[in-house]
C-alpha cells in the first residue's frame, strides 16, 4: 500500500472514486509514512490520526451509499499551523499559543471538512510565519527531505516538506512575502500564492493583513489547481474577499498540460536575475525559458525598476501590520499568561507574557513595526513604504501590458544549511527578494521545480500573473511541468534520495 503515498492527489482521487482503494487505506498509508519519516523530517507539530481516520471512514461509507462527493473527497491533507482548526491544537509555531485549541474553523478548513478531506495534522512553521527557514519555530525546525542538514524554506517549511517527503499529497500554506513559494522552490514541490482576496483569510492568524494569502502546497500543478478551486472563492466573513467566481483553474492546468503555449507572451523580469543569484539557479532558468519558447511562447524582456526597493518597503509594511495584529496576544483571552511577582497589573502581565512567549524574530519585527509607526517616523518609514507599493504596482501594470505572465527564479539560491543565516536577519530576508513584489501588488504567483542546481538541490521557477488571472499561472506552470518531466522521464522528486524509514 506504500505506493498510495507516491501518487498525485488527482490520481488518488480517481482511484478513490473508481473504488480501487478506500480513503481509510489511503489515510492510513500516509499516517504510516508520517510515523516512518517524520522523526527525521519534523514537518508536523500535531498529527490527528483518529480524526483523520474517522473522516476517511465516513467518506468511504458515504461513497458506498452512492452519495455525490467532491472530487477530492477522501484525499488526505495537512494544514499549516497558522490556520485555526476547531478541536485541533493551533500554535502558529509560538510558545505563546502552546496548547490552545481554537473554538472555530477557518473558512478554508470548513471547506476542506465539507468536501470530506481527512486532515492529517498541523504543519511546522516559523513562529507566526516570520522567517524563511522554519528555524524560528518555537518547536524546533523542519528538515529538508532532500538533505536533512538543510532548511526546508519558510515560513511554510513544514507543509512543503510534508508533501516532498510523501507524508501528505496536499497541504495548505500561507504566503505573506514568499512563505508558500520559497519552500516550494527549495523542496522541489509546487506552491501557489493566489491573487489577494482569492482565498478567504477568515481564521488565519494574521501577520500582515494586506499581504497574507493562503494557498495550495502540492507535488503537481494540477493538484494545486484542484485544491485552489476547493478553498477559493468569495467568503462574506472576509471583507477583502473577491466577490466573483474564480477563473477555471483546473481547466487551465489541463489545457497547459498539452504543452502548447502558442501565442502566450512570457515576460522575463530584468531586475530579478543576475547578481546574488546562484549560477545553477540561473542556468535552470535559462533552460526553462528555452522550453517555453519551443512550446510556442514569445519571450520578451520587461523592466520593473522599482523592484529593488520592494524588500525595504516590505520590511516596513509587514512589521507595522504585524505589530498591530499581534497586539491581541496580551495574556488575557487565550494562550500563555505570565504573572510577574510584584504589582501584577494587566499591563505588566502583558509585557511579561510577551517577553517570555515570543521568540527573537517576532520580537524584532514587532519592535521594528512599532518604531516605523511611531509619531515622527510614520511619514518617513511607513508612509514612504506605501508609496513604494504604488510604484511597484505601476511596474507590474506596465509589464503586464507587454506580457501575459512574468517569470523569474523563485529564490536566489537552493536550500542553505540549517544555522547558516540564523544570526544574520538581513541575509535571511534576502531569500524573499523575488517573491515579495507579488505580495505588495496583490498579484498571484506560482513556483514549480525546474531542475537541480550544481549542488544537486532543487531549483524553483516562478510564474506571476495579473490580479484575478490565476488561471494563467496554471496554464503556463502545467505546460512547463509536462515538458520538463518529459525530459527527465518523471517528476523531479523521484530523483530525491530515499529517506531512512524508522520502525
Amino acid at each position: 500500500m506504500s505506493d498510495l503515498t507516491r501518487i498525485s492527489a488527482a490520481t488518488l482521487a480517481e482511484k478513490l472514486s473508481a473504488g480501487e482503494v478506500s480513503s481509510v487505506e489511503a489515510t492510513q498509508a500516509h499516517l504510516d509514512r508520517i510515523t516512518a519519516v517524520d522523526g527525521a523530517v519534523h514537518a508536523f507539530l500535531h498529527v490527528s490520526a483518529d480524526e483523520a481516520l474517522a473522516t476517511a471512514a465516513d467518506v468511504d461509507q458515504r461513497r458506498a451509499a452512492g452519495e455525490d462527493l467532491h472530487a477530492l473527497a477522501g484525499v488526505p491533507i495537512a494544514v499549516k499551523d497558522v490556520v485555526v482548526t476547531k478541536g485541533l491544537p493551533t500554535t502558529a509555531g509560538s510558545k505563546i499559543l502552546e496548547g490552545w485549541v481554537p473554538p472555530y474553523d477557518a473558512t478554508l478548513v470548513e471547506r476542506i471538512k465539507a468536501a470530506g478531506l481527512p486532515i492529517l495534522g498541523k504543519t511546522n512553521m516559523d513562529e507566526f510565519a516570520m522567517g524563511s527557514s522554519t528555524e524560528h519555530s518555537a518547536y524546533g525546525n523542519t528538515h529538508n527531505p532532500w538533505d536533512l542538514t538543510r532548511i526546508p524554506g519558510g515560513s511554510g517549511g513544514g507543509s512543503a516538506a510534508a508533501v516532498a517527503a510523501y507524508e501528505a499529497p496536499l497541504a495548505i500554506g500561507t504566503d505573506t512575502g514568499g512563505s508558500i513559494r520559497q519552500p516550494g522552490a527549495v523542496t522541489g514541490t509546487v506552491g501557489v500564492k493566489p491573487t489577494y482576496g482569492s482565498v478567504s483569510r477568515y481564521g488565519l492568524i494574521a501577520m500582515a493583513s494586506s499581504l497574507d494569502q493562503a494557498g495550495p502546497v502540492t507535488r503537481t500543478v494540477l493538484d494545486s489547481a484542484l485544491l485552489h478551486e476547493l478553498i477559493g472563492g468569495h467568503d462574506p466573513l472576509d471583507s477583502t474577499s473577491i466577490a466573483e467566481p474564480l477563473p477555471g483553474l483546473v481547466a487551465a492546468a489541463r489545457q497547459g498540460a498539452t504543452g502548447d503555449l502558442t501565442g502566450v507572451r512570457v515576460g522575463v523580469i530584468r531586475e530579478l536575475q543576475g547578481e546574488g543569484y546562484q549560477a545553477g539557479v540561473l542556468a535552470r532558468f535559462q533552460e526553462s525559458l528555452a522550453i517555453l519558447e519551443a512550446a510556442g511562447a514569445t519571450i520578451v524582456e520587461v523592466s520593473c525598476p522599482h523592484f529593488e526597493y520592494a524588500l525595504g518597503a516590505y520590511y516596513l509594511i509587514m512589521p507595522s501590520e504585524a505589530s498591530s495584529n499581534l497586539a491581541k496576544f496580551d495574556g488575557m483571552r487565550f494562550g500563555l499568561r505570565v504573572v510577574p511577582e510584584d504589582n501584577p497589573t494587566a499591563e505588566r502581565v502583558m509585557s511579561a507574557t510577551r517577553g517570555q512567549g515570543f521568540g527573537d524574530e517576532v520580537k524584532r519585527r514587532i519592535i521594528l513595526g512599532t518604531y516605523a509607526l511611531s509619531a515622527g517616523y510614520y511619514d518617513a518609514y511607513y508612509g514612504s513604504a506605501q508609496k513604494v507599493r504604488t510604484l511597484i504596482q505601476r511596474d507590474f501594470d506596465a509589464a503586464f501590458a507587454q506580457a501575459d505572465v512574468l517569470v523569474s527564479p523563485t529564490a536566489p539560491t537552493t536550500a542553505f544549511k540549517l544555522g547558516e543565516k540564523l544570526d544574520d536577519p538581513l541575509a535571511m530576508y534576502l531569500n524573499d527578494v523575488a517573491t515579495i513584489p507579488a505580495n505588495l501588488a496583490g498579484v498571484p504567483g506560482l513556483s514549480l521545480p525546474n531542475g537541480l542546481s550544481d549542488d544537486g538541490l532543487p531549483v524553483g521557477f516562478q510564474v506571476l500573473a495579473p490580479a484575478k488571472a490565476d488561471d494563467r499561472l496554471y496554464r503556463v506552470g502545467a505546460a512547463l511541468e509536462a515538458l520538463l518531466e518529459k525530459n527527465w522521464g518523471g517528476p523531479l522528486l523521484s530523483q530525491a534520495p530515499e529517506l531512512e524509514v524508522a520502525r
Binding site: 520590511y315 501584577p344 508609496k387 504596482q393
Partner: protein, 88 residues
Amino acid sequence: MAGLARIDLTPAEIDRLAGELDVIVESVARVSEIATPDVPATSHPLPLTNVFRADVPVAPVDRDAVLAAAPASQDGKFLVPQILGEDA
C-alpha cells in the same frame, strides 16, 4: 520601543536587538529615496469599498469553548489582572 510594544526584554536581548535593528532600519530607509510627494500611497492591493454582508443573525462562537481556552475565567467571563492604578 520595547516598552511601547509591551515586551519585557532582558538586558542581553536589548543589546542584541538594538544592534540588529539599527542595521535593518538603515537598509529599509532607502524607500524614502523614491517616495516623492507626487506618488500616492497604497494601503491595500485591491481597493474595495462599502463591503457589507447580508444582515442575517448567525450563532456566535460557543462561549464555554472560548472561555475554556482562556488563561483564567470565572462566572462565564474572562478573569483578568487588575487593570487600574497603573503608573506606566
